[in-house]
């Protein structure tokens, strides 16, 4: 009778029922959501901080009304007031600061001063600079006596954003976004690294627990050591999968709630409506429609981003992720299981951990480099070598990987993980029953060659 399911069930249930599992599972999405919410709240609070600024010009009214008020900024143009008079008591008068524009500004860019008690935020400065630059440009152009100048300026006002398109083997051109590819590469690589490492080391701790509490001898008198090892590895993989899925759903749920409560603005609903429209309708005519309708360029950009996100090879990414998670996890978990079996307690694992940690951290570093330069030969080799390939290949896929490379990498992965599981099982079988021996790589090599 096959007893692996009984083992898997125990490994799974004892972990899932633990308080620490429940707490982490609930807390992690809250923390992740907090990472998104807090900066948003901070930004919104900053904007709500209302500032009134006095604008003083030296005996002219060239720039009167040029700097427009915004939601949080009010510019008050004061005539016949000297800067020096206001300087001492602008605070009491309710001003955040004094903007002093001298007439030389047309030729001397730094002939403008903002006097305030606090360091002014960058947004305020940019707003002032942009407004003044535009006005000075306009005034300079005026001196050329061009007809219909205002209309011309309106017409030439342009924004540029480079659209990247990828041409497939079949000649179909698709929108892509380097930003989105980078984000996917980052998330894919990092998630792979974390899952493999966290749950791989849980396997190790489980093995050590059984060894130190001597449960293992009772169990291996009922089942084969390799069954116990595989039962544990699979059970923990299911725990990881459960936690991962709960995280995905909780995070999505929390984000939906945030979207509908905190960011409840007309603007946003408009964006999402437009985005749904652009997904439903064919894309090229939509662009034309946009131009015809004079749709806000920002909106077009968001739509573009959205459509290129949809154009990512999602099926390939998800399938590869599952493949590399399963094989990569099995590979590392079996190494961790072998290490756990070779030591008497957790402190002894240190000497073994380093050589195992190095390839996976190297993989993560190469993956980060891959985002900058997906075609580098380092990325290529590391995405083929099985110890680094799960992390590196996940970072490469969003940028496009030739199928032969992907298949070669996967084939190498399968061969290697089978070999590692087999070797780990041999070490494990001997290691779990060895106590008080100074464990070393040499010792493990000897165990590998013991007969049944």
């Amino acid at each position: 009778m096959n007893k692996i399911p009984v083992i898997i069930k125990r490994e799974y249930l004892t972990r899932v029922r633990k308080k620490s599992f429940i707490i982490m599972t609930i807390l992690a999405p809250v923390l992740m959501a907090a990472l998104i919410i807090i900066p948003t709240l901070v930004m919104m609070n900053q904007q709500q901080d209302f500032k009134k600024i006095a604008v003083i010009e030296d005996n002219s009214d060239l720039f009167k009304g040029v700097i427009k008020n915004t939601e949080n900024l009010e510019f008050v143009y004061l005539d016949n007031v000297k800067v020096d008079d206001l300087k001492s008591n602008f605070d009491q008068a309710g001003y955040y600061g004094i903007l002093y524009i001298s007439p030389e500004i047309v030729n001397t860019p730094n002939a403008v001063q903002l006097i305030s008690k606090k360091q002014p935020p960058i947004g305020l400065l940019q707003h002032i600079e942009n407004s003044l630059e535009k006005e000075i440009e306009r005034q300079k152009l005026m001196t050329y006596n061009i007809e219909n100048l205002d209309q011309i300026i309106k017409n030439v006002d342009t924004k540029v954003s480079v659209q990247t398109k990828k041409i497939g083997d079949s000649g179909v051109i698709k929108d892509t976004s380097t930003g989105i590819s980078m984000a996917l590469a980052y998330i894919g690589g990092l998630l792979m690294y974390m899952l493999v490492f966290i749950f791989g080391s849980q396997v190790m701790r489980g093995v050590i627990e059984e060894k130190t509490s001597r449960v293992v001898e009772v169990i291996v008198s009922s089942v084969k050591p390799v069954q116990l090892m595989m039962g544990k590895i699979v059970g923990i993989a299911l725990v990881g999968l459960t936690q991962f899925l709960i995280w995905v759903f909780l995070t999505m749920g929390i984000l939906t709630v945030i979207k509908s409560t905190i960011l409840k603005t007309e603007n946003l609903t408009e964006v999402s409506q437009n985005m749904t429209k652009s997904i439903l309708s064919d894309e090229q005519p939509q662009m034309a429609q946009d131009q015809a309708a004079g749709v806000n360029p920002d909106m077009a950009e968001i739509r573009q981003l959205f459509s290129s996100a949809l154009n990512q090879p999602w099926g390939l990414i998800i399938l590869s992720f599952i493949f590399y998670f399963v094989t990569g996890y099995l590979l590392y978990a079996s190494i961790f299981a072998a290490i756990g079996s070779a030591v008497d307690n957790e402190t002894e694992t240190q000497q073994f951990m380093l050589p195992v940690t190095i390839p996976i951290i190297l993989g993560l570093m190469v993956a980060m480099g891959t985002m900058q330069n997906p075609e580098s030969s380092l990325s290529f080799w590391c995405s083929l070598i099985p110890l680094t390939s799960p992390v590196v290949m996940m970072a490469r896929i969003p940028f496009g990987v030739p199928y032969w490379q992907l298949l070669l990498s996967m084939a190498l992965m399968i061969v290697t993980f089978v070999a590692f599981v087999w070797m780990a099982a041999k070490i494990y079988r001997t290691g779990i029953l060895m106590y008080g021996k100074k464990s070393s790589w040499h010792e493990m090599w000897k165990w590998l060659r013991y007969s049944g």
Binding site: M1, K3, V6, I7, R10, T14, E209, E210, S213, R214, V215, V216, E217, V218, I219, V220, S221, S222, V223, K224, P225, R429, L433, K446, Y450, S451, G452
Partner: protein, 302 residues
């Protein structure tokens, strides 16, 4: 008929010989003592019987057929180093071990209830193992060893960690299991319990089986014609070529003498001689304890 047999078992770990051509034969319904100093190879042999590891050469038979993977269900093993999951509840844990031995959940539940009641540990079903005293944990472990009603039971130092009362309970359970038809391999360093419980033994030293057979036969074999006699009053046995005094104690008006007779003397003749010397209170042929035999055999080999 032998329930279990190991024939010419050899096992090496690297270059180190753990078992060298060891054979044992365990009759059905016998309590079989597996003895030997630390590191002699007992644990290796027990692990081979449990199929935790395989022998390099040699054959094993259970109930007449070659030992195979299915036989783990017919064997119960209580290792010397007891082990339970500390964070797991007692009941769940017992169910888990029973299921690993091939019982269905319902059947495991039914049998565990019986044993928990019998050993009066029902109240601990929902407790975590770490909340239990060592003796209580031992009882739980004992139950998990016997719950699948194996034909062959292997107990490695079953009485350590128990107080005398609980040790006696466990001893009676072992005898009860034998009554019901189980065969027991019993490994211990406590020679008194070997004399008390075991029918047959094998003594392993330095990977080799060096002494085997029925306990009483072995003790008689090692007896070397020594006798203990107690007389009333101050009496002594004359040392002539026939008897050799080993020790003599005199107190409370009695004389206790241990002496050695020549090999061909019959007990009746010795007793007749003794009656002529004075009033005999007691007379016993002195059998060496298993402890003495153990020490003498092992030391003579070293």
């Amino acid at each position: 008929m032998a329930l279990f047999e190991a024939k010419n078992v050899t096992k090496k770990y690297g270059t180190q010989l753990a078992l060298d051509n060891v054979s044992i034969s365990v009759p059905e319904r016998c309590i079989f003592g597996l003895l030997g100093p630390n590191g002699a190879g007992k644990t290796t042999l027990i692990r081979i019987i449990n199929q935790i590891t395989g022998p390099d050469s040699g054959e094993l038979f259970l109930n007449g057929h070659k030992l195979n993977a299915e036989d783990v269900m017919s064997i119960g093993y209580l290792p010397e180093e007891r082990g339970l999951y500390k964070k797991m509840k007692v009941g769940e844990q017992a169910l888990y071990f029973a299921q690993l031995k091939g019982l269905s959940k319902a059947e495991a539940m039914r049998r565990l209830k019986y044993w928990f009641k019998k050993l009066e540990i029902v109240d601990w079903w929902g407790k975590k193992v770490e909340e239990l005293s060592k003796g209580m944990q031992q009882k739980v472990q004992f139950v998990t060893t016997v719950v699948h009603e194996p034909k062959l039971l292997i107990f490695d130092e079953p009485f350590t960690g128990f107080d005398p009362v609980n040790a006696n309970i466990i001893k009676n359970e072992i005898l009860f299991l034998r009554e019901r038809g189980a065969t027991i391999i019993f490994s211990t360093h406590n020679m008194e319990s070997v004399e008390e419980l075991c029918d047959n033994i094998t003594l392993i030293n330095k990977a080799k089986a060096i002494l085997e057979g029925n306990v009483y036969d072995i003790r008689k074999q090692w007896a070397a014609n020594e006798y203990d006699i107690v007389f009333e009053g101050d009496v002594n046995i004359p040392e002539n070529g026939r008897f050799k005094i080993i020790s003599r104690q005199q107190d409370n008006g009695k004389s206790a003498i241990r002496f050695k007779a020549k090999g061909d003397d019959d007990t009746n003749e010795i007793l007749q001689m003794a009656v002529g010397l004075g009033k005999v209170i007691s007379f016993n042929p002195s059998l060496p304890s298993m402890n003495e035999i153990f020490i003498r055999v092992v030391e003579s080999r070293n």
